[in-house]
């Protein structure tokens, strides 16, 4: 089964990236985690994302385009990255989710990937 691990970080946790005192530990933990995932052979694809400040947000409302800088809303947690993994079961995917550094400083959402439609035209 393929699952997406969706890494949500608190604003404070994302802030550690720009804090010279905290950044080495922050990246040390993430690099080790991502390295362990790749080495285990479960990774299909995945990426970390730049800070939510860098987001640009587009919406069409009543036929009118609205483009905004910044994230969608002022929420407590932000998307920090994602991985698609191939594991034998949800339990295995949850085990990897629990190992993510943001599991204790945010949350990890685990969702099954929708399989491609079987009757798709060739």
């Amino acid at each position: 089964m393929q699952y997406m691990l969706i890494f949500n970080e608190t604003t404070a946790e994302t802030g550690r990236r720009d804090d010279p005192a905290a950044a080495p530990a922050y990246w040390g933990a993430w690099n080790a985690y991502v390295g362990a995932m790749w080495d285990s052979g479960i990774v299909v694809s995945g990426n970390g994302l730049q800070s939510p400040r860098t987001a640009t947000h587009v919406r069409v409302e009543g036929g009118k385009r609205q483009v905004q800088d910044g994230p969608f809303a002022d929420t407590h947690e932000h998307l920090g990255g994602y991985f698609i993994v191939e594991t034998a079961s949800l339990d295995d995917a949850l085990e990897w989710a629990a190992r993510a550094p943001c599991a204790s400083a945010g949350s990890v959402e685990v969702r099954p990937v929708l399989p491609p439609p079987t009757n798709a035209p060739a």
Binding site: A29, A32, V34, G35, A36, L90, D91, L94, R99, P101
Partner: protein, 400 residues
């Protein structure tokens, strides 16, 4: 509702839940129905006790209420196959259960939960729910399983108990050791899940596991391994506070100040281990407890007897060659002055060790002692694989 009544209900729940479920399940041969009936009885208690006052014998009151509920249900489904049920149906008011009718129904319930017909990964969750009444959601979080999947596994296990007609009886003497091992394993699994956690469902689980270990030893005083498990958990528990410093950072065992270990628990552990030793039935839990007892010696002597610990691990591996024991053996051997042999032990472990965080923690430590290269890479892997945030922070700080 007054706080007094709520507290009384909580107290009865903690004291009697397992006993009541076990007794009802045994009478009715249906664990799920017994749990439902008891849940209704507790709800009724919360409604009636504030007005009528807490009864003198709250456990008997709950048992009678649950019994009525089960009878009511039985009348509806006309479950009259069992002559004893038919007999009960004629009684206007079921009598309060006698506590001593069976030695302790909770023990039978533990054995049923760890029955070989039930999948091993459900033993501990089922026991926690059936004997202690923990919520399926709490159990799911502790075992890192989705709540829906856990609920399904528990329901399936209970259906299996009903369909297979698993008997609520103490197993025959000859099958006792095998069944007891499964019971003790389940208690141990519950404890280790909660070991590193604070203020989480897993933390509650630790206390519940300790309660079950004490209960198992009390109910089976002639079984050395039950005492061995109790001694092991008490030693672990004695060091809990010393595991973290004032800032909440993880402190590994060799760096802990023994003054922070709890003397009362160490003494209780040592007494349990002595009780076990006198029974002359050696087993893996007793050996693990002896290893922890050796670590506890540092409190008196200021020294950790690594040579003795390394030998005890050698015996443990012969009993129980699991990864944890073999990793522990390597660390003890390295600390006892043979780091090169310890590296060789780790190298010889099967491939699945590479998915196990403690293996990499041990490898980094042993390579460090041996002055061999590869320590950084092992640390990296340990950091990537651990799900314990405080251990992760500790390891990241070692990266240097």
């Amino acid at each position: 509702m007054s706080d007094g009544v709520a507290a009384a209900v909580e107290c009865v729940a903690r004291e009697s839940y397992g006993r009541l479920v076990a007794r009802l399940a045994w009478q009715w041969r249906d664990l799920a129905a017994a749990e439902d009936a008891l849940a209704d009885a507790f709800a009724a208690a919360l409604r009636h006790w504030p007005e009528q006052g807490v009864p003198n014998a709250p456990e008997a009151w709950l048992a009678a209420a649950a019994q009525r509920r089960l009878l009511h249900h039985a009348r509806h489904v006309r479950l009259t196959l069992d002559p004893r049920v038919t007999a009960l149906l004629d009684e206007a008011e079921p009598e309060a259960p006698e506590r001593q009718a069976v030695p302790d129904a909770r023990l039978q319930l533990m054995f049923v939960c760890a029955h070989p017909a039930i999948a091993a990964n459900v033993h501990a969750p089922l026991m926690l729910q059936a004997v202690l009444g923990l919520d399926a959601k709490v159990v799911a979080s502790a075992f890192l399983v989705s709540p829906a999947a856990m609920a399904q596994r528990l329901v399936r296990a209970k259906a299996r108990i009903r369909e297979a007609g698993l008997r609520f009886e103490t197993p025959e003497a000859r099958e006792l050791p095998a069944r007891l091992a499964a019971v003790l394993e389940a208690i141990y699994a519950a404890y280790t899940l909660g070991r590193h956690a604070l203020d989480s469902p897993a933390d509650d689980l630790r206390k519940e596991a300790l309660f079950l270990a004490r209960l198992a030893a009390q109910l089976l005083p002639r079984q050395a391994e039950a005492w061995g498990l109790l001694a092991l958990l008490l030693h672990a528990e004695s060091r809990r506070a010393a595991q973290f410093d004032a800032e909440g950072r993880f402190v590994p065992l060799p760096a802990q100040d023994p003054a922070g270990w709890r003397d009362d628990l160490i003494r209780e552990a040592e007494a349990a281990l002595w009780t076990a030793a006198r029974l002359r039935q050696p087993g893996p839990f007793q050996i693990e407890a002896a290893i922890q007892s050796a670590h506890a010696q540092r409190r008196a002597t200021g020294q950790t007897p690594w040579r003795a610990i390394s030998q005890l691990y050698g015996v443990l591996v012969q009993h129980h060659a699991n990864l944890g024991a073999r990793v522990g053996q390597a660390v003890a051997q390295a600390e006892a002055g043979e780091p090169a042999a310890a590296v060789a032990l780790l190298d010889a472990l099967p491939l699945e060790a590479t998915g196990y965080a403690p293996y990499w923690v041990a490898r980094a430590h042993v390579l460090g002692l041996a002055g061999a290269p590869g320590r950084q890479a092992a640390l990296q892997r340990a950091i990537g694989l651990t799900d314990d945030p405080r251990l992760r922070d500790f390891l990241v700080a070692q990266l240097g």
